[in-house]
């Protein structure tokens, strides 16, 4: 199934025939198994030497394979570590898998290759108990330091009902509290400089400038930031673990809540991956509806960012204007989906209902309403000289740094790289639409803002095209795995009735296999890597979220600046904590 034998033969020529095993996957993404001993060497080659190098570590995760039954043609493995790399030159991804054996597996770190691997490897340790040798700071990242066990291991309970009742005796409470004591050294921070004693400031987890439960430990010299250490995990809800106990269908509402500002966009990423696994082709109308709603949610998400970013910089009014606009957009969403922030409206093989009567009028009203407002905001925010003074040249990173650290989305495009998955790898019918990919050159807070503001206008363009050219036809696929299936014929033929009954009661059984799909989310590239064991529930759900690497990067771009700049930087990154912690 590998469509590009090019990479495979290239790697075989370099590392010998026996070194690599290819694996066929449902998504056709070149997937190779590498022996643990040679993985680092292989990755280094792919990143630095290969023609059209795979410069970005797009994702790094693992699978607990111990209870997986359908692994035809794959090498023996208890825990599989997966490196997902992205090549901008080739516009191609590659997946390198490394098989690990035993109950306490270990692997070499790749932090020397990609600095962004740091947090991903900590997550490996935290979630799977995979020891990463040579890692500079291997501690838990999402779970509390005192947590017992590694949640994404299959033996770890998924529900509270599978665990003994929670008790907090005094000794435990004391121990927990002691564990919370702040010791700068543990965070890799220094207490004293050459001639200064540093001040440590605990910014968050509850702070008006962090937009959610994010903790940043600052080492300050006056108001100047010497170092920052982000502490995440406060918003961790086990979204990936929950995937393993929800049916393919009932997991959709959970995806809404990952990037909770971008509703449908999450559904889209998940469902495109599910549909790849199931082999469902959706009708054109479905594609167009999905694109339309996703772009509306991109605008909604960007409006929240716009307002809060301005508020972070001390401007009081914009946030009210933009939230009002967002309300208008939600009115449209509500009329179409019933829900607002979490519409939970896309379905496997289609959407929940057809568009309601009068949807186009509502959408047109919104299309007519927003541009004038955006123009106002240009004057109020973007052209304001204090705003410019606060954002230009602040939080700057180069294109190379962006790629090193796994930055995607507007943050990447602000560095001058015109990379948009909607254009580069069109999905869900984006190839039919006429739109531009806004970029900027400097990679600072201001340019990230410029890109997002321009993106809202492009999204309006796409929606406008959707409204104009909405294809007629069914809003659900005919595929038997479509959930819920089309109802019209259920009472007329037994086949449809059975499918309907099964898919609604147990949920669809998605064929065994692996598929990844990444989309251009509102905050960067959002992707779902799904593994089916031929069951009604996923065997493993991996959510690649953009905010995770973006937040990891904050220390790099905040050092040497002031506390106020840090707030500007956080605002300009546009993250959502649920998207960081999942």
């Amino acid at each position: 199934m590998n469509e590009r034998p090019g990479v495979f033969s290239e790697l075989q020529a370099r590392f010998g025939e026996a070194a690599l095993t290819a694996q066929a996957t449902r998504d056709g993404l070149p997937t190779f198994w590498a022996p643990a001993g040679r993985a680092a060497e292989l990755l280094r080659y792919l990143k630095t030497e290969a023609p059209g190098p795979y410069r970005m570590l797009y994702d790094l995760t693992a699978i607990d394979e111990r209870t997986r039954t359908r692994r035809e043609g794959q090498p023996e493995s208890d825990f599989t570590v997966i490196y997902h790399l992205l090549s901008f030159d080739r516009n191609e991804d590659i997946r390198i898998k490394v098989a690990l054996k035993g109950d306490s597996p270990a692997i070499r770190t790749v932090t020397d290759l990609w600095p962004s691997a740091n947090w991903y490897e900590r997550e490996l340790w935290d979630m799977f108990g995979i020891r990463v040798e040579g890692h500079p700071h291997l501690r838990r990242i999402l779970m509390p330091a005192t947590w017992q066990g590694h949640p994404l291991r299959k033996e770890h309970p998924a529900r509270a009902t599978e665990m003994p009742p929670f008790r907090l005796p005094d000794e435990k409470e004391t121990a927990e509290q002691e564990r919370l004591q702040f010791h700068p050294e543990e965070w890799g921070l220094k207490r004293h400089g050459a001639d200064t004693d540093f001040m440590f400031l605990n910014l968050g987890p509850h702070h008006p400038g962090t937009h959610g439960l994010l903790r940043l430990v600052l080492q300050l010299d006056g108001e100047e930031i010497v170092d920052v250490v982000p502490d995440i995990g406060f918003h961790h809800r086990g979204a990936e673990k929950m995937g393993e106990r929800q049916s393919w269908h009932t997991y959709i509402p959970y995806t809404d809540r990952v990037d909770y500002l971008a509703g449908s966009l999450n559904n889209l990423a998940y469902l495109l991956a599910v549909e790849k696994l199931a082999g469902i082709e959706v009708p054109d109308r479905v594609k167009t509806i999905r694109v339309m709603m996703s772009e509306l949610f991109r605008i909604i998400s960007h409006l929240v960012w716009y307002g809060t970013f301005a508020a972070d910089l001390g401007a009081m009014s914009p946030v009210f204007y933009m939230f009002n606009d967002r309300e208008r957009a939600f009115d449209v969403v509500e009329a179409i989906c019933g829900g607002r922030m979490h519409p939970n409206w896309f379905r496997i093989g289609g959407v929940a209902q057809d568009l309601p009567e009068g949807w186009d009028r509502l959408m047109r009203e919104f299309l007519a309403y927003l541009p004038a407002r955006l123009k106002d905001y240009d004057g109020l925010v973007m052209r304001n000289s204090i705003f410019k003074g606060r954002t230009k040249g602040i939080g700057r990173y180069s294109l190379d740094e962006a790629i090193e650290w796994g930055v995607t989305g507007p943050g990447l495009r602000a560095c001058g790289l015109e990379w948009d998955f909607r254009k580069k790898r069109p999905y869900s019918g984006y190839e039919w639409f006429d739109f531009e990919v806004p970029t900027a050159q400097n990679g600072d807070c201001y340019d990230r803002a410029v890109v997002r503001v321009a993106e809202m206008r492009q999204s309006l363009r796409i929606i406008e095209q959707c409204v104009r050219n909405m294809p007629a036809g069914p809003y659900k696929s005919d595929h038997p795995l479509t959930t819920p299936p089309r109802k019209e014929r259920t009472m007329h033929d037994i086949e449809t009735l059975i499918h309907h009954f099964l898919n609604v009661s147990w949920g669809p059984v998605i064929p065994a296999g692996e598929a990844f799909h990444g989309i251009e989310g509102a905050k960067g590239s959002n992707g779902y890597y799904l593994i089916s064991d031929g069951n009604t529930m996923p065997y493993r759900v991996r959510i690649r979220t953009p905010s995770f690497p973006h937040i990891q990067m904050t220390p790099l771009i905040s050092r040497g600046l002031m506390v106020s700049d840090l707030i500007a930087i956080l605002g300009s990154i546009d993250y959502v904590l649920a998207d960081v912690d999942r």
Binding site: P208, E223, G314, A315, M316, F320, I386, G389, S564
Partner: protein, 318 residues
């Protein structure tokens, strides 16, 4: 005897008037901001939501008078009082109408500057006594900001003083019979207004309390009545600065038809609304940018204004 009685009446009238104005203005600000921001603001309690202020006051009075255990108690309690004392004291010199002034000092302008300088202590001490890092950063910013803005604030008024030939506010008002000083002293007005915003640390120059960065800055640890004193202090401060601008640049109580005191109030209220408009419009500069703007733009402007005014007066006098 009748003199004393008269003074007492004036004092109470001014005190009551100013406090009511400042307290009532919180409601005006909230409604006006809401208007600017496409929302309603407090509109439920009483006609037009007017009793919201009363309700807030009751709530604040009922709150526990709490001092954090880690704070420096005496200083922590003293700080909010200081701001009230200094701002209320500066009210004493303001001439609301002919004869309606508590103390018509011959050094009125200097007294105002002195009081606003003392006001810095309140914020600095609050930041220090709270023994909290956010408060400390807020206090630190406040001292830096207010000390620098103090300089131009004083300098920007000297043009007016030179033109009027007196520090006494009633003399300055009298000197504006033919032409309000806002025209010849436009640069002075601009600098004084900006410095006034910085002195009262109103948004966008509210760096000492910058919510998004420092949670609540110097008053992070304050609650209840002590917090209310800071809030009220800020509003009285804003009233005083507006009243000073009216007195020094807009002819004080002068105006046709309406009684002087009404003119004075109308002008003052207008300026206070300007403060709100400013708050609704601008983002907050960074603390070093604010300093830079002060020392590199406002200081030269006010010095130049001073020199030009002096030269013009000299030429005219000769």
């Amino acid at each position: 005897m009748s003199d004393t009685a008269r003074s007492l009446v004036t004092i109470f009238a001014v005190l009551l008037g100013a406090l009511t104005l400042a307290g009532g203005f919180i409601w005006v600000e909230r409604r006006l901001l809401a208007l600017f921001q496409e929302r309603w603001g407090p509109n439920r309690l009483g006609p037009l939501g007017l009793f919201q202020g009363v309700a807030d006051m009751i709530k604040i009075f009922m709150k526990e008078d709490w001092v954090p255990p880690f704070a420096d108690k005496p200083v922590f309690v003293l700080a909010p009082m200081l701001i009230m004392v200094t701002t209320l004291a500066s009210l004493a010199i303001i001439a609301f109408a002919p004869g309606l002034v508590v103390a018509d000092l011959n050094i009125g302008v200097l007294f105002f500057l002195a009081m606003s300088s003392l006001g810095v202590y309140s914020v600095a001490l609050a930041g220090w006594a709270s023994n909290s890092k956010y408060a400390l950063l807020g206090g630190m910013r406040a001292v830096a900001q207010m000390l620098s803005y103090e300089v131009f604030m004083g300098l920007s008024l000297m043009g007016v003083v030179m033109m009027a030939g007196s520090f006494r506010l009633t003399d300055i008002v009298a000197a504006q019979k033919s032409l309000w000083f806002c025209i010849p002293q436009l640069p002075g007005l601009a600098v004084f207004f900006i410095a006034g915003v910085a002195e009262t640390h109103r948004s966008p120059l509210d760096l000492p309390e910058a919510e998004n960065e420092l949670v609540a800055g110097y008053h992070t640890e304050y609650s209840g009545m002590k917090f209310a004193l800071f809030l009220l202090g800020e509003y009285v401060g804003m009233t005083v600065v507006s009243a000073m601008i009216v007195t020094l640049f807009f002819g004080g109580w002068a105006g046709p038809l309406l009684p002087p005191v009404v003119w004075f109030l109308v002008k003052t209220l207008f300026l206070m609304c300007l403060f709100i408009w400013l708050r609704a419009s601008f983002p907050r500069p960074r603390y070093d940018q604010l300093m830079l703007f002060g020392w590199k733009v406002l200081l030269p402007v006010s010095l130049l204004n001073l020199a030009v005014t002096g030269a013009v007066l000299l030429v005219r006098g000769a």
